[in-house]
Amino acid sequence: MAKYLFYPGCSMESSAKAYSDSLMAVAGPIGLELEEVEDWNCCGATEYLGISLTPAYALISRNLALASKQANGNRTVVAPCSACYLNLAKADYYMQEQPKLGVMVNEALKAGGLSYKPGTLSIRHLLDVMVYDIGLDTIKSKVVRPLTGLRVAPYLGCMVPRPDYENRWSDHEYPIELDLLLNALGAEVIDFPLKTHCCGGHMPHIGPDTAFELIRRLISSAATYETDIMATLCPMCQMNLDAYQGETNRHFGTNYHMPVVFFTQLMGLAFGLDPKDIGFGSELVSARKALNKVGLEAPELVEAAPARPRKAEGLPMPRPLPTRGPQRAKKDEVAK
């Protein structure tokens, strides 16, 4: 049985609880044994790196140090969140590429009685382990409720297949691993051209306009393919596409309704688990329709408070300037 060290990351405890729940529910059947790194800390997401180099890498490396201590040597650490995965993997890689960084980080770790020898752990993303270690055959063998007819857009976001210094993925731009996995579940996988494009990352908090445009591109492209549901493997992607979809709609005057869930949730569905136990219902854009399509009752939903209804009678409300997004986009469209 496969046994891995597990670095869940902060989101798994809160915003991506559905990811966590569904992962725990499917891990058993496919024989994925995960041992949580004890007392891990936040990886710093994309924020800490922008403040100061050594502290950022020391923050990340505390986790590596803890994990390697717990691993008692050389083992694989699995991270389900793309930012966590990237930060851990990158820290390990850069400390090898530029030993000076490793020395500085270890100097800091020493203050906490820790140390880490770069290169001793192998950092991998959950999907990588699922596809290449557990294997598609094993996953396929557990499917009792194939997702036949469900049109799924595989959406990986950026930080899992890139920069990929260890060359773990089939491609940096069009990796096929998630497609293969969803295929194994019986879903109809669309060839989603933006599968590794950006969801906006932290931009909703910083430059919301930038973020809304990125979210719009993804949702609208998925919609043109008549996608029923988007499957993702990153808490941040899920958050941005799901939780900010409403705001994006308001921003552009669009009316997309694109449910976004974690791939592990779809695995759970295909494995015949109860949607309630695998986090369905916690998405803000309801996946009810999609669930119906595979013959399932959606769980009791606590719908997000609907946006203020528009008055049907009287003069039309001034529409939110539909132009902002497209106008902005037009700026790049210089060629005519």
């Binding site: 933006l194 492209s221 043109t224 469209e333 210089v334 060629a335």
Partner: protein, 677 residues
């Protein structure tokens, strides 16, 4: 047991040491005067009778200095401390020979490439130079007077590869009256050039200039043409190579075939032609790749032939008017005896699928430059009509992307040389034939040769739009109105400093040239070296770009590195000139670096028997001794090092020389002097 007792007999040799300034190249970092003075005093007991420094030892005055000393001081050994022996060993050996000293009694030590140019600390560099001189002195004491081996040169030549470079080389040698064997692995000669429609910058028709040369090769009395054939083994050495060639079964009796083409016409099996048509067109299971093929005989593709698959059909046999089809034909192995070999094995194109963001293979209307050559070729699958993958739609906007797979650390580091001009050529042709808007996306425009930049000007005048920027992606994911149904080229226009999304109907990827996939094996087969990325390595990048490190083997065309047609032709002709020079010499001297067995010491243990890749070692069962064939021996010394009895002697690189050199190099470490760096 090592004999440690007593000193070795007093050194009998009279050694001259010459330290070169090389202008400031050496003298700038090494105190050459001190090196010479040190050698004269410290190495006096080691036989050094004179040590001089001189501005340029390799100059005629420098050489005369040595010659004079040999004659006047009776020198018996010479050590020159200067540049790399690869540059001037011959020079100083010849100088010694002129003065009546056996040239092999001269030793060169490198204090330029390996000292002054790589170190900065003058004191350390001077000490290192002294050590090098001391090593050279100790080594030269053990040198022997040698006579070079001479071997006759077989005037026949083998040319491998029937592209334009190989064709040119073949014709030059054959016209000079010597026999040439040309081996080509495809059914016809012609190479990549045969696939092109027009050639830049003159836009003359490739076929029109190539075909006459192909015919010349095919009919030349001095040429034996072997297409559909591959070299399997190369033995021997310069002047006397023995080459084994596999002539693959054509299943067509060439003595009977008239090349009428009826077999191809009647063959019911259509196959996508991945080679000649770049996957855009079809051929039959029995085929000549193109109408002007040389030789005109077709070959049978047994992997696709219905008869070989199912046991029935034989349409070709039935219709052949001269009964030239033979289904039972077997591969034939022939051995060629040649004196020199020219490798002109060409290039492969970069696999554009590897740049996944350009969508080749996923997006229908993204084409490679080779596909574009076929699309534009009047004899191509579309009769020269530039259309989309659907076979009919004429594009209204075309984007041509330069540097695909070239100048990119993710793929190939090198510049593929021809892509800029090729892309300009396409821009011109698209304009001319479709009137479409054409964009060229480039990083740098490189049009350095005769009339090339003029061509660039002409294409600009024609209205091609140039965007400076490496394209980021080609996508069908629409984002803005007006993008539907188009391919969108997303790029930073670096001159405008803005990201642009440019919708087009067709994208042409100017894919790079890269070494043949099997270039490493080819290099190994012929015993030449290949760079890490796969291009054959020339003897000297500037001064000897057609020879290789292996005597008698020359390279021409893109096998050595990307180049255009004029350059390939030049190099083919140059290689031929080198071969003709060799043939004229009739015989040549080989370096007398050879191994030999001291028979009375050999116990016949047979340790060495399997170590020689040149089969120079034979074991005589009757006498229980091993013997080395001096002519086959290449002088690597592996057997010398391996012989447990010390019964193999390496002339020119014997144990005494190396061991003495080690002692000499380390003299400063054990002497009274402080341990230097």
């Amino acid at each position: 047991m090592t004999k440690h007792n007593g000193s070795k007999p007093e050194v009998q040799e009279r050694i001259g040491v010459y330290v070169c300034h090389c202008g400031t190249n050496i003298a700038g970092t090494v105190d050459v005067v001190q090196v010479a003075e040190w050698a004269a005093s410290r190495l006096k007991t080691r036989g050094v009778v004179i040590a001089r420094d001189y501005k340029f030892m390799c100059s005629s005055l420098g050489q005369e200095l040595i010659e004079k000393d040999i004659k006047e001081l009776g020198l018996t050994r010479v050590v020159v401390a200067a540049c790399s022996p690869h540059l001037h060993e011959k020079t100083f050996r010849t100088a010694c020979a002129r003065a009546g000293l056996n040239p092999f009694l001269c030793e060169m030590v490198s204090i330029r490439e390996q000292v002054s140019w790589v170190h900065t600390d003058k004191e350390a560099a001077t000490i290192k130079s002294q050590a090098a001189v001391s090593g050279g002195v100790e080594r030269v004491i053990h040198h022997e007077a040698l006579e070079p081996l001479t071997v006759p040169i077989n005037p026949a030549t083998l040319v491998v590869g029937g592209g334009i470079a190989g064709i040119q080389a073949t014709l030059e040698i054959a016209d000079a009256g010597h026999h040439v064997y040309m081996v080509e692995r495809e059914p016809s000669i012609g190479g990549h050039m045969a696939q092109f429609d027009k050639t830049f910058p003159t836009l003359d028709c490739a076929a029109c200039i190539l075909t006459p040369k192909m015919v010349d090769v095919g009919g030349h009395p001095n040429v034996t043409l072997m297409t559909w054939s591959e070299v399997e083994k190369v033995e021997g050495y310069v002047g006397n190579f023995s080459v084994t060639v596999r002539k693959k079964a054509r299943h067509v009796k060439t003595e009977d075939c008239t090349g009428c083409g009826i077999c191809q016409e009647k063959c019911p099996k259509k196959v996508i032609d991945e080679i000649y048509e770049a996957g855009l067109g079809y051929r039959k299971a029995i085929y000549t790749p193109f109408p002007q093929a040389v030789p005109r005989f077709p070959v049978m593709d047994v992997d696709n032939c219905i008869y070989f698959e199912k046991g029935t059909c034989k349409a070709c046999e039935k219709f052949c008017p001269t009964n030239a089809i033979n289904f039972d034909q077997q591969d034939e192995i022939v051995t060629l005896e040649v004196g020199n070999i020219i490798l002109a094995t060409g290039y492969d194109i970069f696999d554009a699928r590897r740049v996944s963001n350009y969508g080749y293979g996923r997006l229908a209307n993204v084409f490679t430059s080779l596909e574009m050559e076929r699309l534009t070729n009047a004899a191509g699958p579309t009769n020269g009509n530039i259309v989309l993958r659907d076979g009919k739609t004429v594009p209204e906007a075309v984007g041509i992307i330069h540097c695909v797979g070239s100048r990119d650390r993710n793929f190939n580091n090198h510049c593929s040389v021809i892509c800029c001009m090729q892309s300009l050529k396409f821009a011109h042709m698209v304009h001319e034939r479709t009137g479409a808007i054409v964009y060229n996306f480039y990083i740098d425009m490189r049009t350095p040769f005769k009339d090339y930049d003029e061509f660039y000007q002409r294409v600009m005048e024609e209205g091609t739009l140039f965007v400076r920027g490496k394209v980021a992606e080609v996508t069908d994911a629409t984002r803005l109105p007006g993008e539907e149904g188009k391919l969108i080229i997303q790029v930073e226009d670096t001159l405008a400093g803005k990201q642009r999304r440019i919708p087009v109907d067709m994208v042409v990827l100017s894919v790079g040239l890269q070494p043949r996939q099997d270039s490493n094996e080819t290099a190994k087969l012929f015993g030449i070296s290949c760079s890490a990325n796969g291009w054959f390595i020339e003897k000297h990048p500037k001064l000897d770009p057609v020879a290789t490190m292996t005597e008698g083997i020359y390279i021409a065309g893109c096998a050595q590195g990307p180049k255009d047609i004029p350059a390939s032709v030049s190099q083919g002709a140059a290689a031929a000139a080198r071969v003709l020079g060799k043939i004229e010499q009739k015989e040549m001297a080989l370096e007398p670096v050879r191994a030999s067995v001291i028979e009375e010491k050999c116990s016949g243990c047979r340790i060495c028997n399997d170590l020689c890749p040149f089969n120079a070692i034979t074991f005589h069962e009757d006498r229980m001794v091993t013997e080395i064939n001096a002519a086959l021996c290449q002088g690597c010394g592996t057997c010398v090092a391996a012989c447990p009895a010390g019964a193999i002697y390496g002339t020119g690189f014997n144990n005494e020389q190396v061991l003495a050199q080690i002692e000499g190099l380390l003299l400063l470490n054990v002497g009274d002097e402080p341990v230097p760096a």
